[in-house]
């Protein structure tokens, strides 16, 4: 069976764990639990008739005082960046995080989840930001771990990208 390691990366509180919970366990909780280190989950998906085992590494969010250990990225087939669309700084920091990722493992298939899409009134991103992601060759998908919107689509996109790269 094909196995692919995908790292969930982003600033703290963007909803990385919630996205994994939604995708793997079809669950969502409003209660915030800060991830410590890395939490590993698995989910099998069927792509073009072939079963792919996704190994999801949910990395503790980047905080000002603590960088993400770059060794966590090693062996990753794909990177799943997560931005909180209601917190502009989580968008701004994604480029520095990406630099750190690419400095460690080079260019691998990557996706940006624009998360918390259900909070439309608090949305802080605009067309210019989407263009900046496109210019950086980053495919973006709007997601809501709360409603489930876009979640399956996002994980299947990154799974496909890692298999077909």
């Amino acid at each position: 069976m094909i196995q692919k390691k995908i790292c969930m990366v982003g600033v703290f509180g963007t909803g990385k764990t919630s996205l994994v919970q939604r995708f793997v366990h079809s669950m969502f909780t409003d209660k915030y639990h800060s991830t410590v280190g890395v939490k590993i989950d698995r989910k099998q998906v069927l792509l073009d008739g072939e079963t792919v085992n996704l190994v999801l590494w949910d990395l503790a969010g980047r905080e000002e005082s603590e960088e993400i250990p770059t060794s966590y990225f090693r062996g990753s087939a794909g990177i799943f960046y997560v931005i909180d669309g209601t917190r502009r700084e989580t968008f701004d920091q994604i480029f520095a995080i990406r630099e750190s990722v690419q400095g460690t493992i080079g260019v691998v298939p990557s996706l940006v989840a624009l998360n918390k899409k259900d909070l439309v009134d608090e949305w802080r991103l605009g067309q210019g930001d989407y263009n900046a992601l496109m210019d950086a060759d980053l495919h973006a998908i709007g997601t809501s771990a709360k409603s489930g919107e876009g979640v399956e689509n996002a994980f299947l996109w990154i799974a496909n990208a890692t298999v077909n790269k």
Binding site: Q3, K5, M27, T29, D30, K31, H33, V36, G37, V38, K39, I40, D41, V55, P69, S71, R74, G75
Partner: protein, 285 residues
């Protein structure tokens, strides 16, 4: 009370000072907790050689792992003791049979290593289920395992025993309790207050020998960090603040274990108490 402590120097730039202690507590008649701390090392000792360069031998000596395990059995009429003992023993058996995965450890293929640890837990679970399959609902146990291959700690966690680490005076809980209470809170079915007043906080949502749902993860330690594994007999009496103060003040794993045990006993000792500590002490430069 039973205790073990060990301080081993190594070539990783420091020492892992370890200790473990378990106590029946003040109320229970039997101790259903189990623990062990073990070190694994590639063993190829150079006695004689014609080689000028012996660096390759250093590499073999360098690699060392530490295994920290805590199990807290649950079940009636001594079943919990059997379950925790069986889980820990089958874990040892499985690991001894699959030592190759440790010898072949490489950070780029660490998923294989993690899979072996998961398989070891599954093996322990299967053993208990098979043993008690003809006797209706059998006993079960929590199981928290931390494998340290410096600086990385791989953990597998089932139930409500806990793993923490202390860094720069800040205590972080690595594991999350797998109890019905936590699950109810997560699903928004009950509030924290409602759960605290119910018996759900102590009801396991995941157990070895029961409904097995292991949580898997890892963290990287730094020199000066302290790793703590414990059964709920400690945490029901000793707050996070007290854990922080005691671990921060202790000058050895041995004293940390003793002080934590004493605090739990002074707090009431209503359950069995198990404490396992690993301190990452950097060599003097």
């Amino acid at each position: 009370m039973s205790q073990m402590n060990q301080s081993e120097s190594s070539s990783i730039g420091g020492t892992i000072d370890t200790c473990g202690v378990t106590h029946t507590g003040k109320v229970r008649e039997t101790n259903e907790d189990q623990f062990f701390v073990a070190s694994l090392q590639k063993s190829l000792n150079l006695l004689h050689t014609s080689l000028d360069q012996v660096a390759a031998f250093d590499e073999v000596q360098k690699s060392k792992a530490y295994l920290f395990v805590v199990a807290d059995g649950v079940g009636s009429t001594g079943g919990g003791q059997i379950a925790s003992s069986m889980a820990v023993q089958s874990l040892i058996t499985y690991i001894s049979r699959t030592m190759g995965c440790f010898y072949g450890y490489d950070i780029d293929s660490e998923h294989e290593f993690i899979e072996q640890l998961e398989a070891a837990v599954q093996h322990a679970h299967d053993k208990i289920v098979t043993e008690f399959s003809s006797k209706g609902k059998g006993p079960a146990t929590t199981l928290t395992i931390a494998t340290l291959i410096w600086p990385r700690v791989y953990y597998i966690h089932v139930g409500d025993s806990r793993a923490y680490y202390l860094r720069n005076g800040r205590l972080k809980q690595i594991t999350r309790d797998q109890t019905m209470g936590e699950m109810m809170i997560d699903q928004g079915v009950m509030t924290e207050e409602q759960v605290t007043r119910s018996s759900l906080m102590n009801m396991l949502a995941s157990a070895v020998g029961g409904d097995l749902k292991p949580a898997v993860g890892l963290i990287d330690l730094q020199w000066g960090d302290t790793l703590l594994l414990c059964s709920d007999g400690l945490t029901r009496h000793v707050s996070d603040e007290e854990l922080t103060n005691i671990l921060g003040a202790a000058d050895s794993a041995d004293s940390a274990c003793q002080l934590l045990l004493n605090a739990a006993l002074e707090g009431g000792g209503r359950d069995n108490i198990t404490v396992v500590v690993g301190r990452a002490v950097e060599d003097d430069r």
